[in-house]
Amino acid sequence: MEVTLTHFLIVSTLLFCLGIYGIVTRKNAIMVLMGIELILNASNINFIAFSRFGNFGLQGQLFALFVIVLAAAEAAIALAIVLNVYKTFVNVNVDEIDALRD
């Protein structure tokens, strides 16, 4: 069985859905961050898959590298925010952090 673009896309879609699921259902902010990482990785798979099967040269791979760097930076910033949130609200439960409503 030959591995085609469709298989890649199915995998990345599953990954994306898992990320979304993680973001939406998890109460812990760190778990939500992990969901976001999953979504980023799903997009990385899409980039590389399109790059491999399309006629784009190495642009897709380059983009994937950018995304990984971006994800690392984002994770650093997000974790700093989570630490600050924890300092302010004494927990990291996103359900209870609804100060935005007020």
Binding site: I20, I23, V24, V32, V94, D95, D98, A99, L100, R101
Partner: protein
């Protein structure tokens, strides 16, 4: 006597009665005997009035004294010029004589009242009112201007109201007071109009000034017609006060007052004021105005005389007789017999005061019985009252040796002369007819009251002659009714000092062509006159009067005697039964007995008319005006109710609806606004999915 002295005396005379009034009124409750002060005041006034008269006749026989002071300075009125209103005193032959008459009668009435009013609960107040009355009358007599005349005129009105309604507990008395006052107001309105007319024309109220302007030919509105109108308007005041037809109805009712008051009001003061007013303005009356005055006078002489024939109340007979005699005077003024009119005013004052006081004496003796049918035979019980009453009755009937003959005969001769010059023969005819009726009803009164058998035995037995306080005035007044005070010749006043010297011929100021022919300037009359009056009666009139004298004397005597004889035949000797005669002439008798139905007529017309009018106005007010007000109120209420509903339902409804709507929408959307990031993300994802479906291009 110097002019200043006379002026001072006249001012004192004027204000003495006022002093008496004030003192008596305010001390009346504290000092029971204060009425003595009032009587003393009157006596002082009487003495001073005599001094004034003597001083005037000796030192100022041919001139008059005027004293005036500026009362109101209106300054320079735009358009009109400067206007000043003066008050002042005028002493001439007329006012000097009149003030004496007023004070004689007033003093005697005061004196008489001491006994008559004894036991009255408002004894002192009664004397105070008499003082007020005398004050008002003195003001009318002494004033030199129309304004003061009007003020005192109204004062007379109010004091007559107080006195006529003195026994105000009795409804008829208070009604009579009101009637006198209101009927007088009608006449006063005319007088006010007249004097305002003079004021707008001449900017002055003073008689000498107005007369001078008219003599110069300045007439109201530059027309003789308006001068006539002015004269008649001022005469309206006299119609009211002197109870002339058609305003005579108040006088008989005024008999409700105490009898001495009737003597004062109906002899020398109130009713004399009207005649006095016409005497004062005689110089500005045109021929037309004089004719109107003569007609009113003749009617007032005739109608009440016919009424007096059948009345049974002793005072009512005298009341109608008063109107009739005043009618004589007014008629005399109307026909130009000015001196006789004034002469009659004075003689009438004395004998009519005597008659009223005499009737007061009778009423007092009979314990307030006024119906002559219950009297009779009083001659023996009350000789003094009888004698004085008889003398006055003879005087009023016009029998020689009395003053009444002199003046009345003069009036009749004057109207006769007037008729012979102008052809108005109705005046002397009425005059002579009334003379007969006067003699008849006066002697009817005398005979029924004093002669014959007593009809009411019980009252007769209690009757007694009056005491000195009541008898003295009667005697004095009846003596004053004799001829000797006025002239030495009992048949002609010409020879006497009173008529020829004390009363001057009037000065006529009206333009030549608005006078009667006999009053026009005439060379002969001017040269005959001692003092150069601007205008005198013409020679023609003197001659006519001379010719009229003999027929006048004969006819008036004939009339008076036939009247007296008729009275004796009917009531003394009873040759003609008065009752059967009355039965035969039933309609005429009833007509006279019911006073020509004047009161009923006025009730049906003026009173009912006024009531009807006020009812109409009341209806209009209640239905139309109130209806409009209430209607607009209802409409406003309805409109506001509607707008209120609109506001409540539609506007508020809209507002509330918007509020509910936004609240509802808010209720829905607040659910999305949880503040939870995850919810927002779900929404974003859902939205993207929905958008993908909507923009489905693949």
């Amino acid at each position: 006597m110097s002019e200043n002295l006379l002026i001072n005396i006249s001012v004192i005379i004027l204000f003495l009665p006022l002093l008496g009034f004030v003192v008596t009124l305010f001390l009346g409750k504290k000092v029971p005997k204060i009425f003595v002060f009032e009587i003393l005041v009157m006596f002082t006034g009487l003495v001073l009035a005599f001094i004034l008269l003597v001083g005037k006749l000796t030192s100022f026989a041919d001139s008059r004294i005027i004293a005036e002071f500026k009362w109101i300075d209106m300054g320079n009125v735009p358009v009109i010029g400067s206007i000043n209103i003066y008050l002042g005193i005028l002493i001439d032959d007329i006012s000097a004589l009149m003030i004496v008459v007023v004070f004689i009668v007033s003093f005697l009435v005061h004196f008489f009242s001491m006994d008559y009013m004894k036991g009255d609960i408002r004894y002192n107040r009664y004397f105070a009112y008499l003082g007020l009355f005398t004050f008002s009358m003195s003001g009318i007599v002494l004033t030199h201007n129309m304004l003061m005349m009007y003020i005192f005129w109204e004062l007379v009105g109010i004091s007559s109201y107080l006195l006529i309604g003195f026994w105000y507990e009795k409804k008829s008395a208070s009604d009579a007071g009101k009637k006198a006052f209101i009927v007088n107001r009608i006449g006063d309105l005319g007088m006010l109009a007249g004097l305002l007319m003079l004021f707008v024309t001449y900017n002055s109220f003073s008689f000498p000034e107005i007369f001078g302007e008219i003599a110069k030919g300045n007439l109201p509105f530059n027309s003789e017609f308006w001068l006539t109108v002015t004269g008649i308007l001022i005469f309206c005041g006299a119609i009211g006060k002197s109870a002339q037809f058609p305003l005579h109805v108040w006088l008989p009712d005024a008999m409700e007052g105490p009898t001495p008051v009737s003597a004062l009001i109906h002899a020398a003061t109130m009713v004399a004021a009207g005649v006095y007013l016409v005497v004062r303005i005689f110089g500005i009356l045109t021929a037309d105005a004089m004719l109107v005055i003569a007609i009113i006078g003749a009617l007032s002489a005739f109608i009440p005389a016919t009424i007096a024939l059948t009345q049974n109340d002793i005072k009512r007979v005298l009341a109608y007789s008063t109107i009739s005699q005043l009618g004589y005077m007014v008629m005399a003024l109307g026909v130009g017999a000015y001196k006789f009119a004034f002469f009659h005013l004075i003689t009438h004052a004395f004998f009519k005061a005597c008659l009223f006081l005499g009737s007061g004496s009778v009423i007092h003796a009979m314990h307030h019985e006024q119906d002559i049918r219950n009297m009779g035979g009083l001659r023996k019980k009350m000789p003094i009252t009888y004698a004085t009453f008889l003398i006055s009755s003879i005087a009023i009937s016009g029998i020689p040796l009395t003053s009444g003959f002199l003046s009345k005969d003069g009036i009749l001769s004057g109207s006769y002369a007037f008729a012979s010059l102008t052809g108005h023969w109705l005046f002397p005819f009425v005059g002579f007819l009334v003379a007969m009726m006067t003699a008849f009803y006066m002697f009817r009164l005398v005979i029924i009251t004093f002669h014959g058998e007593p009809r009411n035995k019980e009252k007769y037995d209690h009757a007694h002659e009056s005491k000195f306080a009541m008898a003295m005035p009667l005697i004095v007044l009846s003596v004053l009714s004799l001829f000797i005070w006025y002239t030495p010749n009992p048949l002609s006043p010409d020879a006497g000092w009173f008529y020829s010297e004390w009363i001057k011929d009037p000065v006529i100021y009206t333009p030549e062509n608005s006078r009667w022919d006999f009053m026009k300037t005439d060379e002969a009359s001017i040269s005959n006159s001692a003092e150069q009056h601007p205008v005198m009666y013409s020679e023609m009139y003197t001659e006519a009067l001379h010719h009229a004298h003999t027929p006048g004397v004969v006819l008036s005597l004939l009339m008076a005697i036939s009247g007296i004889l008729l009275a004796f035949v009917m009531y003394q000797w009873k040759k003609i039964n008065a009752d059967t005669l009355a039965e035969k002439l039933k309609p005429l008798y009833n007509f006279s007995y019911n006073k020509w139905y004047f009161d009923e007529l006025y009730d049906k017309t003026f009173v009912a008319g006024t009531l009807g009018l006020s009812q109409l106005v009341d209806w209009f007010d209640r239905v139309i005006v109130d209806g409009i007000v209430n209607g607009s109120a209802t409409v406003t209420k309805a409109v506001s109710a509607f707008t209120g509903k609109f506001d409540n339902i539609v506007v508020d409804g809209l507002v509330n609806f918007m509020a509910y709507l936004s609240a509802f929408i808010g209720l829905i959307f607040r659910r999305f606004q949880t503040g939870k990031v995850q919810t927002y993300i779900i929404m974003v994802i859902f939205s993207i999915v929905i958008l993908l479906f909507i923009f489905n291009r693949f």
